[in-house]
Symmetry: C2
Subunit: 344 residues, 2 copies
Amino acid sequence: MGGDHAPQAIIDGVGHAHIRHPKVRFILHGDHARLQPVLLSKPAIKSVIQVEHCDDTVAMDDKPSQALRRGRNTSMWRSIDSVRKKEAQVAVSAGNTGALMAMAMFQLRTVEGISRPAIAAVWPTIRGQTVVLDVGANVDTDARQLVDFAILGEAYARVILGLDRPSVGLLNIGAEEVKGNDAVKAAAQALKDSGIPMRFHGFVEGDDISKGTVDVVVTSGFTGNIALKTAEGTARLIGHYIRSAMARSVFSRLGYLFASGAFGVLRAKMDPRAVNGGVFLGLNGVVVKSHGGTDGLGFASAIDLAVDMAESDFPARIVDAVAHLPQAVTALGGPPPPAEDAAQ
Amino acid sequence: MGGDHAPQAIIDGVGHAHIRHPKVRFILHGDHARLQPVLLSKPAIKSVIQVEHCDDTVAMDDKPSQALRRGRNTSMWRSIDSVRKKEAQVAVSAGNTGALMAMAMFQLRTVEGISRPAIAAVWPTIRGQTVVLDVGANVDTDARQLVDFAILGEAYARVILGLDRPSVGLLNIGAEEVKGNDAVKAAAQALKDSGIPMRFHGFVEGDDISKGTVDVVVTSGFTGNIALKTAEGTARLIGHYIRSAMARSVFSRLGYLFASGAFGVLRAKMDPRAVNGGVFLGLNGVVVKSHGGTDGLGFASAIDLAVDMAESDFPARIVDAVAHLPQAVTALGGPPPPAEDAAQ
């Protein structure tokens, strides 16, 4: 059981999730001796949990390759294994992202026809929410992988945002067709001309993400991860500005008191816990990665995502989408690289 | 004369700048017939301006290659030409970025030993300000170019932030050394081990930009541009949240009134006009790119940057830095690509 505040945050999260999803059952992989005292304080969830004892864990700073070689007895490995063995429908973890991706790729394998998995994040926008992927599973991404991410992201937006025909954009540095690197240009060409039944919008820029210009924003894991963390950093910077501006005079402090309800709404809007959870897409099974530093409320949001994914039978949807891919797309890419390279 | 609000915004900007820098003289390249009526309303700047008539312009949607081939009689070309001929020390433009970069590269050429120019932006942080580059001049970037950007960015931070020994970080998706693409890893190696006299911090992540972890953040033009626009979009999204939160009840509106001074401070902090201006670094001359949609105040900020750069004799500093580059760095890269490929 991982994350910065395990097992307390995890079990608190199960407590919140149980109220929202009373029929969902949980298998907790972790150290029985550490789980037991926390579980005693939560009698309400006793009937929906099953503890699988396991005292080895993946550390937050373990390298993915290390974790993969030596981690077969860890709670992380076991939780993914329970998805592989169909004992569970989704694995949820707040642990080491790179190790989780490496283990998930190794145990669950990508859906046939999808070259690489991606991590998808749900991003707040002026219009609502937008799916952004990949936010960190892959470092170098070619055109075929970007097309795969578009397919995965579109299917994910149908499930999570409840949209019939989500629009999809490719992240680029200019809307003009001359700009962008070769991978982005070739992917745009394929999404436009290959006959994939998708509402492809074309290129979008960084500020289009929070404008909500499209429902799905596709990019490489390198750029997506940097965009996500830059946005988080910007939100924290502005939060800092707000706090220091409101503390500067008696009037502003009084104003803050009067508007405290409004500031509460604002805080809730800016709270990263509300949309916690990156989902690994493209595997024969679903894995949800919760933020490592999250608390129980944030972990419950990750469980919400997991429940939606389980109900949608997501991997089967992807198998179906890949089976109907036009020839022009399957011709774009080579065979997938070996699983050991995952999440480097 | 370019940008969305030329010539009004440009001439207003000169008006503001003249108050701050009374000794600076301005050559205005543009249509005399359009400039004249606006200039008549600004008698204060009459003594410091010189109008060079020119009625052809680069359109905001011209492709860089087009502008380069057909644009020799445009105000943009002429303004860069005045830097080439040493009539001016810096060119400032609110026009088409790609065309400006292509023309600047073609006319001014890169400093010998620097393979590609970069666009640097100044970014507000919790600790103060950080230089980020490249934010859009290059699409594909190799290790040698990242090292060049580190050299350019460090020199720029000395001038603009007034620092003796700025710290430099390479933007990556994880602080661990295993992560990142090949270019980023090789550049880190060179900056660490080659003996460049630079305070190299190592890798930083997206949220480190606004934390102010380092004084200079180095990245490719593709990632830097997307990070910059994502941050702008996030700031606008939060501004939207603030406005709707404050309008939701009588109490919040009252609070807003009491705290209106604080909100003014907040607006000023979040105002992109305060740090307007990307600077093209690495050329035999300095070009400052103002935001296309800016007003007079924003354009004046771009002129502030231009003045600082002129006073520092920036290109000579770069010639000096390159002359002292260790062998290990010069061995990293090949010859620069032809100027026609600029800003594609």
